[in-house]
């Protein structure tokens, strides 16, 4: 079930760090990972990425993979340069106080799914 980034921010009690004007974007899939090559391999264009990594490669990976928004879990904040980069790409970033498992669980309970449950032809 799709959801807007604004709804995601509310469910995850997240602070929006940039690109607040595009929170009406609808995401159809979620991906929780700290492995950027996995994100590149398994994400679909309108995916929400949840990650515990806060280095600039996360923002570049998201831009390359066509990710719609990034949630940093357990309150980890990226540095200003990274936020500026995301702003340049038009990529919304948020910080949630929840840990990865709980953040993913909260979104799952709202009906969102990952690529292995809703990716085209990828159900195990």
């Amino acid at each position: 079930m799709p959801a807007s980034l604004a709804q995601v921010a509310q469910w995850l009690r997240a602070d929006v760090l940039c690109c607040a004007h595009v929170l009406d974007r609808s995401i159809t899939m979620c991906h929780g990972s700290d492995l950027m090559s996995d994100v590149l391999a398994f994400s679909h264009p309108n995916t929400l990425l949840l990650t515990g990594l806060t280095n600039p490669q996360v923002v570049r990976t998201a831009e390359v993979a066509g990710i719609y928004g990034v949630v940093f879990v357990r309150g980890k904040r990226p540095r200003e340069v990274m936020v500026a980069l995301a702003e340049e790409y038009g990529l919304p970033l948020m910080v949630s106080p929840y840990a990865m498992f709980d953040a993913c669980g909260l979104l799952f309970s709202q009906g969102l799914r990952g690529w292995s449950l809703c990716g085209p032809g990828q159900r195990p």
Binding site: S37, D38, A41, T51, L53, V64, A65
Partner: protein
């Protein structure tokens, strides 16, 4: 040069070259995003842009992490993109092994950035319609990635 490129893709012509800096972890990925934007301006389909950007990004990360710097050249045909990513680094001693998912010689520093899962070369292959790799110990590595609209 054009050997193997699908006829519908046409003969690719050189467009631009970008330098990739060795060990520049903070800037790694910028070349691939510049290439993606260049192809976007030229009007390539989103699906081609996405596959080109993913292949470029993984290859760029490898040049930064292992290749000791190098460059990325962009060739285009009306309906095809060719990326040539080359370095003069140590080369890949066993390419069959390196192509396997999960095989990696990444350092802890690289893993902390989210790379080093041994998925890069397989990701490049998955996103290419044709991939040619030339490498040998001490001879550097050259990847030729061809992408056609599907």
């Amino acid at each position: 040069m054009s050997a193997g490129l699908a006829p519908e893709g046409g003969e690719p012509e050189f467009l631009r070259a970008f330098d990739i800096q060795a060990g520049d972890f903070a800037g790694a990925g910028n070349v691939s995003i510049a290439v993606k934007n260049l192809l976007k301006e030229l009007g390539f389909a989103p699906e081609v842009l996405r596959r080109a950007a993913i292949a470029a990004f993984e290859a760029e990360m490898n040049v930064v992490m292992y290749g000791g710097g190098g460059h990325m050249e962009v060739f285009i045909a009306p309906r095809a993109v060719r990326l040539v990513i080359s370095d003069h680094g140590p080369g890949i001693p066993d390419l069959d092994l390196a192509m396997q998912e999960g095989w990696s010689t990444a350092t802890p520093e690289m893993r902390e950035m989210g790379f080093g899962a041994g998925m890069g070369l397989p990701n490049i292959k998955r996103n290419s319609d044709q991939l040619r790799i030339t490498t040998a110990p001490g001879q550097g590595t050259r990847l030729q990635v061809d992408i056609f609209p599907r």
